[in-house]
Amino acid sequence: MSTPYVPNDPGPNPNIANDPPWRLVAILGGGFIAVILAAWFVLGWIGGSLAKQVPDGVEQRLGEFIPVEQMQGQSPELLAARDHLQGIVDVMATELPPRELPYRVIVVEDPTVNAAAVPGGAILVFRGLLDGATSENEVAMILGHEIAHHHHRDHLERLGRQLVVAAVLSSIFGDGGGLEQLGGLGVEGLSRKMGRDDEREADELALDLLDAVYGHVGGSTAFFERMLEDDVDGLMKWASTHPLSAERIDRIIEIAGERGYRFGETQPLPSFESAPTRE
């Protein structure tokens, strides 16, 4: 080998891509979002529809995973509150087609201002909801809302949807450097968006139930007004399942107008301090 060595400058580097990174991100990100959306709509629809067909017995067994009965507060006032709210729920239930799983109110000793529908027919009411309530009608509106979730089987649909979509996405993106998580977040975001639609439908049925019990829908917006005042609709609200309180108040008033419901005088929530007498 006696060829002389001639040092020279190499030209442009052929070993690396020279596309700007944002272009790549735009193309790939778009594709990724398209896959998630497709999975969400197609698989989610299948999963959700299947979940809605789940027989009551299966729902009951599903509910048994969450030991709701043990969550009932045992103080006399909370037991009294449960009995009173159960009375309202029982009246509301007569407005709906009968089902195997009765609606059961469970009052939880917890300052959270909230309520929740749990598979199996349970309606959790947190003490914080009762403490700040200005009327019985306000609480009844929330009970109606949770009954509506049970009636529409929203929680089952959402569970089925998320299960199917999560299973398929994790098998596609199984080892994609955190893509599975990103996909999961996308699904969660979408399910929250859909959650808001469920909430609107639940509000509608809740209004019907409220009117059926009291003959008017007075107090139906009170809870959301309270939320507005407490500024719970802060910056985190974009991520929430529930539509914004102000939006919901407008919507409730609109539906009430459409259906000819009037806003009558509300009745106070009995004090449960000294159980179980009513005022």
């Binding site: 040092p7 070993n15 990100g29 080892d175 994609g176 450097g177």
Partner: protein
């Protein structure tokens, strides 16, 4: 509302990581390329070749093994883009600069070790992923080794 805060954190933190990864990764890469190009230019007069014999007419007075190695990490942005590319297939261009930088850096470090050599022959470069097997690559290692040869002046 703790559930909302939790959700915001779960969305925000990965996005933040990718954004930080993009900026820090770009800065490091830019600096690294500037450094590689400057040093390559300085060292260009010394021939480095993968042939085993070079200028056989000259008398060899010393020869020794020289090595250079480097480990470079992927950043959160490259990792995310790489994940997407490995899903859709095709060129995983987000990792290409990483491998390119690692190999060139390894050769440069090897040459730093070869002070006094007139030529480096029998160059070999090896690249491997550092990280848990089966997981997506987190760092890559490049090793360059060659025989440094000194001729009689």
């Amino acid at each position: 509302m703790p559930a909302e805060i939790e959700f915001a954190l779960r969305v925000g933190i990965p996005i933040l990581l990718v954004v930080v990864g993009f900026f820090s990764g770009s800065i490091f890469e830019k600096r690294h390329y500037a450094s590689i190009e400057r040093r390559e230019k300085e060292l260009r007069p010394i021939p480095v070749t993968n042939v085993r014999e070079f200028d056989t007419a000259r008398e060899i007075v010393a020869s020794r093994l020289v090595m250079g190695s480097v480990v470079i990490s992927v950043d959160a942005f490259k990792s995310m883009v790489g994940g997407l590319q490995s899903f859709f297939g095709g060129r995983v261009s987000s990792y290409e600069t990483l491998v390119d930088r690692a190999r060139r850096e390894a050769v440069l470090r090897m040459m730093d070790e070869a002070t006094g050599a007139h030529v480096l022959v029998n160059l070999r470069i090896e690249t491997s992923a550092v990280g848990d097997p089966g997981e997506s690559a987190s760092s890559i290692e490049a090793v360059a080794y060659a025989t440094a040869v000194e001729y009689r002046k």
